[in-house]
Symmetry: C2
Subunit: 352 residues, 2 copies
């Protein structure tokens, strides 16, 4: 069975041998990382894990890694989904090139954040330490959800049952154990409302003097929210399999969003129960798809540009999963998105 | 005061404007990321954050990001310290080039992990969710320590008091708020013993067909531990300000380590109280330094090569802090380490 060894089995670092090297050099003007946002808060000795006296720490900052090629096309910000990190966009589970490098090779400065509260963005540990010390009741400690390897099969739509792939799946199911390692506890329940990642994305786009914001799944609607905060900073919106397209936006909000080109991308096998009770609906992703069709309708009715890319509009997405950026045809799908950006956002970037 | 705005003040993304771009292109044969190690464990519905039915997840894996230049010098693995992530080695708080890129530009394949349990390596959330649900007593939940911004000044030795830098400090104290954003809760107390990062480092070196392992602070002794697991895989050991050099190794272990060139690096201002009660000793870092002098003595007595690089042996380290890789002279210090690697480890790599 592809899914798993026995519980407790040590899985090897096979991914290292599987890494593919591109045929041509990657030439970068710059690469590195920085933080956007964050605030300093004062915490007690206990909140700091009983390590050192009371003092301040930073919370709410967003880590961003970037690669800047010499061509000056529009920057693209790629923000990951639930219980994952920016790793989503890097080397695929089976060792092929990720979208981060591919978009950079196509001339776009690429910015890959970790959502606030996850990965290298860190999180606010105070409540956990207070619960440990008996100061805060355990029930007030946020839940830290995580996808099991079993639930990923129907929910990410590799197959309707764990270990049994759809005949036409484009996900590299032989490397699904490597995807499992990308999983991290989701700490969004520890964050204030609104989620600081949205403001950080908006600020990042503004500081880049314009960017395409690309979200995925949980973060699928983040680009829309960020655009509403600062529409002038956002030059394009790409929503990959958003959990839902918002149905509650006012006409004024739709009018604002209609000034920005929008592309929504969905994969195949949407008529599948997710196996997650909390998601409720039997056909969660089909309902997401339909919510986005309705959203596109509102944008278009408001005179805006909004396009749907999915297997019913382009057969090249046949067999694609929820993890489109990791599927075996990930670079072909990237080309479709790059063409859309060229045509509707424009080739020139403004990043200096 | 450089340290902080008022609690709750939103700090801006000034780091983005401060980012410096190098004068010459970065040309890479390959870059990307992968995981080393990890095991699949079964968890209950509650342990998974009450999200989906019981199932398996991966824990104990180590995320690694890499850059491979065309020159085939020996690979260098850079492992970060307590309450930090691999970000330590990337762009400095004031926007200068990090050691990850600099070593790659000097011809070394560079591998930057996040310690198991932190950053993009994720952590095992089960105990936290069980405490929340009332299944596990709060006191059994591990503490999550974090350095406060105030404690960093004496402990990382920027100045003896918060906001008051040493006259000769080489740390970019004007950007200390950006260092604050690098802080994450330390999850090592959630890990089994021995810390899985050590085995992952050893496995990584073996799979690279030999590597230099470079540790820092909390992970300062990890390279030694990894080398003891597989001495043939480790071609050199660089220990930056290890919390302590081990005093309990047997003569047999010392004989094993004496087959590998070892460099230990310390900064300045070691006669400083750390301000952290748990660290106990008034002059924690001076005691660390002396423990490493004793360790070097044992290696040398066993016929091995072990060198100390510090302000008393080389005046170029005058004013250096605990965060040597981020100090203003970080690339000069890198050159000293690169020269040592060339001379004592050799120029040729074996990575394919």
């Amino acid at each position: 069975m592809l899914l798993a060894g026995l519980p407790g089995t040590t899985t090897s670092a096979q991914a290292l041998e599987d890494l593919q090297q591109p045929e041509t050099p990657l030439v970068l003007k710059a690469q590195g990382s920085f933080f956007v946002g964050g605030e300093q808060v004062e915490q007690t000795h206990v909140e700091l894990g009983s390590f050192g006296p009371a003092g301040h720490i930073s919370v709410g900052q967003m880590y961003v890694r970037y690669m800047i090629p010499y061509e000056g096309r529009v920057p693209v910000v790629m923000i990951h989904g639930m219980a994952l990190t920016g790793k989503s966009w890097e080397t695929t589970p089976d060792g092929r090139m990720g979208w981060d490098e591919y978009f950079a090779r196509k001339g776009h400065p690429v910015y890959v954040p970790d959502q606030v509260g996850r990965g290298r963005s860190g999180f606010n540990q105070a409540v956990f330490n207070n619960v440990r010390a008996g100061i805060t009741p355990p029930g007030e400690q946020p839940a830290l959800p995580r996808f099991s390897d079993e639930v990923v099969w129907p929910n990410f739509r590799f197959g309707s049952r764990p270990g049994v792939p759809y005949a036409g799946t484009r996900f590299p199911v032989e490397a699904v154990d490597e995807l499992s390692k990308q999983g991290v506890p989701d700490l969004n329940a520890t964050l204030p409302t609104p989620n600081p990642t949205i403001r950080a994305l908006s600020d990042l786009a503004a500081r880049l003097n314009g960017a395409v914001l690309m979200g995925h799944s949980q973060s699928g609607s983040f680009p829309l929210e960020a655009a509403l905060l600062d529409p002038d900073a956002v030059r394009g919106l790409v929503l990959l399999e958003p959990g839902r397209c918002p149905a509650t936006y006012t006409d004024e909000q739709i009018t604002t969003l209609a000034t920005i080109p929008i592309l929504i991308v969905f994969g195949d096998y949407r008529d599948t129960p997710t196996g997650i009770a909390r998601f409720g609906d039997e056909h969660f992703w089909q309902i997401s798809f339909e919510s986005c069709q309705a959203f596109i309708g509102r944008i278009q009715a408001s005179g805006g540009r909004a396009d749907m890319l999915d297997p019913t509009t382009d057969s090249r997405l046949r067999g694609n999963s929820h993890m489109i950026m990791q599927d075996k045809n990930n670079l072909e799908i990237a080309d479709l998105i790059l063409e859309w950006i060229d045509e509707h956002v424009g080739e020139e970037g403004t990043h200096e």
